[in-house]
């Protein structure tokens, strides 16, 4: 464990006063990246009210020493928007996003909104703000259009999964983290976390608006069981931290079940929210990522060359069959 090693070395060299300082820094809850999962119930279609709520929560998180606040999918707008999509959509230069960017000073923020493009496409987007600016945008790739979902009727799909450097400027890390975003349904496609893992992510940010359903066979909510399995498996298979931030509340009688959670790189749930509004705090540690990757060098052994060759072969095979 690097923390311990570095600490021991420091202790050997430093004066007793300096040693005490080092120990204080490593008290439980100190050091690392302090994250807050803001499990809220956004108001449907009310961007001004939701924005005020975001700013208040970011302020509270900053006061508590947080380095990152994660909001759920479409946190600025609510989820079952239907024909409200164009009414609540924001352009990248919208004053609402500028306000969030300004708030993201000393604390990074991931929030959800409908983004309108110049050619009038609307994207279900997760926006990452840091150091006073919009640093990264992920447009949801997989728009569910089945069962109670109708996203492709109203929204355009994104076309990429890209990792980015999450700086956490206030966290005094030795380096930035490699992060990637999966929005809700993106998680139901194996290739999505695989593509992010290939880009070296250490932190999977998963905002979600998952409606609770499936009460048959005497079991707890079917959706909660599915996400329990996915979040733990993705964290373990990518040896990354995974932050799952789901929303709560009801829209048109449909409930959102909450259960936001922090999963560590071994796949263990280390913090979990209930079914109401909640700010879930936890501390992430780069050294934990390193430690797990020493024990499970899955990423070292991953055969990207094989995936590439096989993908080409399959593409050629399909061409010859046609």
């Amino acid at each position: 464990m690097t923390a311990t090693t570095a600490q021991q070395q420091h202790q050997r060299e430093a004066s007793p006063e300096a040693q005490a300082e080092v120990l204080r820094e490593h008290e439980p809850g100190e050091g690392g990246v302090r994250v807050v999962l803001a499990q809220i119930a956004p108001r449907l279609g009310d961007v001004p009210a939701n924005l005020r709520r975001h700013l208040a929560i970011v302020e509270e998180a900053k006061r508590g020493g947080a380095h990152l606040v994660v909001f759920p999918e479409l946190s600025l707008t609510g989820y079952f928007l239907k024909d409200l999509v164009p009414d609540v959509a924001l352009r990248e230069d919208a004053p609402e996003l500028a306000a969030l960017a300004r708030a993201a000073d000393g604390v990074d923020v991931l929030a959800g909104a409908v983004l309108e493009s110049e050619d009038v496409r609307f994207h279900n987007a997760a926006l990452y703000f840091s150091q006073g600016r919009l640093l990264h945008v992920h447009r949801k790739v997989y728009l569910p259009t089945y069962g109670l979902f109708d996203e492709q009727r109203y929204l355009a799909p994104g076309d990429r999964f890209r990792s980015f450097e999450a700086p956490f400027p206030a966290a005094a890390q030795r380096r930035a983290w490699q992060a990637g975003v999966l929005v809700c349904e993106d998680m139901w496609h194996l290739s999505a976390p695989a593509l992010l893992a290939r880009q070296g992510v250490e932190l999977l940010l998963c905002p979600s608006s998952s409606p609770g359903r499936g009460v048959a066979h005497g079991e707890a909510l079917g959706t909660a069981r599915s996400y329990d399995a996915m979040t733990r498996n993705y964290a373990a298979l990518t040896t990354s931290y995974l932050l799952y931030c789901n929303r709560v509340g009801y829209e048109d009688g449909i409930n959102f079940w909450g259960g936001s959670r922090v999963v560590d790189p071994e796949g263990s749930v280390c913090a979990e929210a209930g079914d109401g509004e909640e700010l879930l705090w936890h501390r992430l540690d780069l050294d934990a990522v390193r430690r797990v990757r020493l024990a499970y060098p899955l990423l070292r052994d991953e055969r990207h060359d094989l995936v590439d060759v096989e993908t080409d072969r399959l593409r050629d095979l399909r061409r010859t069959e046609q």
Partner: protein, 281 residues
Amino acid sequence: MAQTVNPADALSIDTAVVERIVVGFIREEVRKVGFERVVLGMSGGIDSALSAALSARALGPENVTPVIMPYRTSSPESERDARAVCAHFGLTPDLVDISPQVDAYFTNRFPDADRARRGNKMARERMAVLYDMSMAHRALVVGTSNKTELLLGYGTVYGDMAHALNPLGDLYKTQVWALARHLGIPTHVVEKAPSADLWEGQSDEAELGFAYAVVDVLLYHMVDERCTRRELRGMGFQDAFIDDITRRVRDSQYKRRPPLIAKLSARTIDREFRYPRDWGR
């Protein structure tokens, strides 16, 4: 399809989870539209008892007004059971006898009307009373129709099927029984034979021709799991029964939908004009 040893097991529910979701549903959807109170018809049967119990848990008993609306042929036991449930959950019921208005209509104008017409009329009189109470108490009307009767069309359109919110509409009758036991509804109300009590001696299961415990298993696998006929036969259901239930569900589809609108414009309500009901809430 989820395979189970006994198909009936599929209907079992985690009652604590269901209670939490439904109580939250009532609380949020009532308050979101600026209300604090609800009214509901209280028949003495299990469905209205459950709706009342869930409403009381969501909003507090002082914010729930059950209305007992007997007709002169209604069983006195029904009113007694309705009052017992109210007492059990700390609710104060209103009583409105609907005999005068129902009799005024049939006695003078349609003395030969059959009992189906009379039953529907009673259901719609009760609806009219509830919507008047809704205005008087500034309260939303909470429904009591379960998934079994909604799917079978065993209800009166614009009668008992009319309400603002329905906490039970996604629960089969079998699941209503389970949730009612969990909430501590008096045992004799849970265990008595279900009846619409529109005429003396009426019984749901006699009128429908099958037991809820059986039809629920079929409906669950037809509707929720979308099983093939071969799979349904494999569970022991006869073709004639499957046909009968399929027809009932299909023929009552109109009851579960808003009225048809003749399409003319480019943006017709509920076709291209699609907004959430919670629009601006």
